[in-house]
């Protein structure tokens, strides 16, 4: 179950990183970064 959970998060992190580098609006880039912080921490099972 945890493995599936982490795979889902990995997928989301990958999508968001791709969006961060393709996005042209700075405000949206900052928002994506903020969303990525808890996601990466959950992917690493820190928080």
């Amino acid at each position: 179950m945890t493995l599936i959970y982490r795979l889902i998060i990995l997928l989301l992190v990958t999508v968001f990183i791709k969006m961060l580098y393709s996005e042209k609006n700075i405000q949206n880039q900052i928002n994506i970064s903020l969303v990525l912080i808890p996601l990466v921490m959950r992917l690493l099972m820190i928080k």
């Binding site: 961060l20 880039q29 900052i30 912080i37 959950r42 099972m45 928080k47």
Partner: protein, 372 residues
């Protein structure tokens, strides 16, 4: 390289720094804090010694065992069922560091839900811990969450169904140790911890189990001792003795239709006499102002003072608040009086303990004077 790509690289760098910095703080919460047991400690067991299924899981926790020279009864003190109720954890640590046992056996678990000590409740703004001044310097103690860390138990169901009763609660209660008793061998991590504690009680034939808690000042069951019907006599004796010492405390009977709680299920499923105690913790209440380590330790909050003056609370709340010293002193005195009451009612199975400071001493000297 385009402007937006440069910004993305800068943001990636900033994000990485934030993750490293905050990640280290969160990782620190997974480390054990040092505890310095008294010379009377017989051994430190693990909960997995009683239930193999907890071995190498985040739910496995230390069980401090004290044995007197004479055979007698046995008591289990459960601290840290809810790690956002700090007087529970701190009282159990105080016992581990000071306890002397002449007769009988005393088992102490300081972090009953160990996983819940590794994180905070989201959106509560709680600090990771608080400090107490002791003779050996400042000591750090963790302030955790009410529930098991979701990185250790996921996902929460929409509705939590308590296994042995079929009672339905909100989904997040699936990670609440005090809704999981008597636990399940093949259940969630929280149910396994509950099962481990139930197994300990059965295997060690624990006579008396005392579960320590706190509640917000606006919660009706507060400054109270909750007793299973089998423990009512012991609780009544102990409460009378506490009231003679001018400590306000009430007796609450464990509701028969509220399942999963230690004071209900441990009485129904084991031979132990279960009791639960509550003190007033403004740091977990809904009316509090800024949440800080000072609020946890000092227990002073101007909003609660106003609410107290307006008569909205179930405890008196003045400018002195409810400091941790007082809350730990209440629990400590409660345990002493419960054990004395048990001794009165169970001749030949007495538990004779010492080394624990009295209520007034703790208020005057502070808990730090009794921590190593």
């Amino acid at each position: 390289m385009g402007k937006h790509r440069i910004i993305a690289i800068i943001l990636t760098g900033v994000m990485t720094l934030v993750i490293i910095f905050t990640g280290r703080e969160f990782k620190d919460m997974h480390a054990d804090i040092p505890i310095f047991p008294s010379d009377d400690l017989a051994e430190v067991k693990m909960l997995s010694d009683y239930f193999e299924g907890l071995k190498n899981t985040p739910g496995d926790t230390q069980v401090y065992v004290f044995e007197g020279e004479e055979e007698g009864g046995s008591v289990l003190i459960l601290g840290g069922t809810h790690p956002n109720e700090p007087s529970s954890n701190l009282t159990s640590i105080l016992f581990v560091e000071n306890l002397k046992v002449d007769k009988g056996r005393v088992f102490v678990i300081t972090e009953s839900n160990k996983s819940a000590f590794t994180h905070n409740d989201p959106q509560e703004g709680s600090p990771h811990g608080y400090y107490i001044e002791t003779a050996s310097g400042q000591r750090f103690f963790k302030y955790g969450s009410r529930a098991t860390n979701p990185i250790h138990q996921w996902p929460d169901p929409d509705v939590y169904v308590h296994a042995s009763s079929g009672q339905q609660l909100s989904g997040s209660e699936t990670r609440n140790l005090n809704r999981a008793y008597p636990g399940r061998e093949d259940g969630t991590l929280t149910e396994k911890v509950a099962y481990g504690i139930t197994s300990l009680i059965n295997k060690e034939q624990i006579d008396l189990t005392i579960d320590l808690h706190e509640a917000s000042p606006e919660y009706p069951v507060i400054n109270a001792m909750v007793a299973h019907e089998t423990s009512a006599d012991i609780a009544s004796f102990a409460i009378l003795e506490m009231q003679f010492q001018s400590i306000e405390i009430a007796l609450e009977m464990s509701p028969k239709n509220l399942h999963g709680l230690s004071h209900r299920e441990l009485g129904d499923f084991t031979e132990t006499y279960p009791l639960l105690m509550e003190t007033a913790n403004p740091a977990q209440g809904r009316l509090r102002g800024a949440t800080s380590a000072e609020l946890i330790v000092e227990g002073i909050d101007p909003i609660y003072e106003k609410a107290g003056n307006a008569g909205f609370l179930f405890v008196k709340f003045d400018e002195n608040g409810h400091p941790l010293n007082e809350r730990v002193a209440r629990h400590t005195t409660g345990i002493i009086e419960i054990v004395k009451a048990f001794n009165c009612l169970n001749s030949g199975k007495e538990i004779i303990i010492g080394g624990i400071p009295g209520y007034d001493d703790m208020l005057q000297q502070g808990i730090g004077a009794y921590l190593r």
